[in-house]
Homo-oligomer: 144 residues x 2
Amino acid sequence: MTELIRLLTRAQKLLRAAADDAMSRHGVRVGQNLVLEVLWETDGLTPGELAGRLRVTTPTVVNTATRMEAAGLLVRRRDPADGRLVRLHLTPKARAAQEPIEEARRRLAEHAMATLTDDERRHLRSALEKIIDRMSDHPLDLGE
Amino acid sequence: MTELIRLLTRAQKLLRAAADDAMSRHGVRVGQNLVLEVLWETDGLTPGELAGRLRVTTPTVVNTATRMEAAGLLVRRRDPADGRLVRLHLTPKARAAQEPIEEARRRLAEHAMATLTDDERRHLRSALEKIIDRMSDHPLDLGE
DNA sequence: TACGGATCGTTTGCATGCTAATGATTGCGC
DNA sequence: GCGCAATCATTAGCATGCAAACGATCCGTA
């Protein structure tokens, strides 16, 4: 079964590289895209909230946000009600990138799955969900 | 279909984190494990050869090898016949880690796939291979 | 009201990848 | 035999993740 994990890793790497390529055409790197996807839907989230939704640590979001701020994709605003919080707001530049990036993402996904039948896609989805559930609910116990 | 890519990414991330956890018990990080797997089989490869087998760039192997050298897992030796080449040789410490690490890897894989039937595993393997073939043979064309 | 624990974001340091630039060595062609 | 292009490894710089340490702010309690 270790072979299956290798295949999964390799497929994910190919997809990630292709996604990064596609996103880069629009001035967005693959990690930044994850932040954008959430903020397009709900602007003004805090780094901590974003980290929770992306299943990533807060420092990761903070660093990505800093790079995105430098790239002119978002701005930080202190929450007026709670001085500990920082709210991340997208710029018009980030909003303008939404349609082309989502389109690129859709095309990439269709391209990657082009040789899979609907049935194969369903099976793939189901298998991945089982693995995710398994690893989420029962993290590998290594003793002590 | 973009949902399928998200699932694949999430599953891979969970597996990688679990693998890193398991390997760390044996003083080896998940990236170093890839190098070990190849060198256990064929000792004395060059960084370039390793990079080719691992589908990773040469600088990545060089950096990983430097960390592994610092950790006492391997040594660099200049090739006597060709001064440009560097050959990576495992230390006894790295050989001693082989059995426990391979065992941990097997257990992790079995654990992650525990809720999948043989049929589901076959379908998963087949789908992943199709995606890999597709992305390898037909990299997404983005136009110029 | 003042203090101390809880809650955030940030900084720091590391591992893993990449691309581009650099440096050493080889080997072919003249 | 010499020089120059090809071939390697390495270095530098960046993006993405993590964990751990730190600093600021808030809030319940005494």
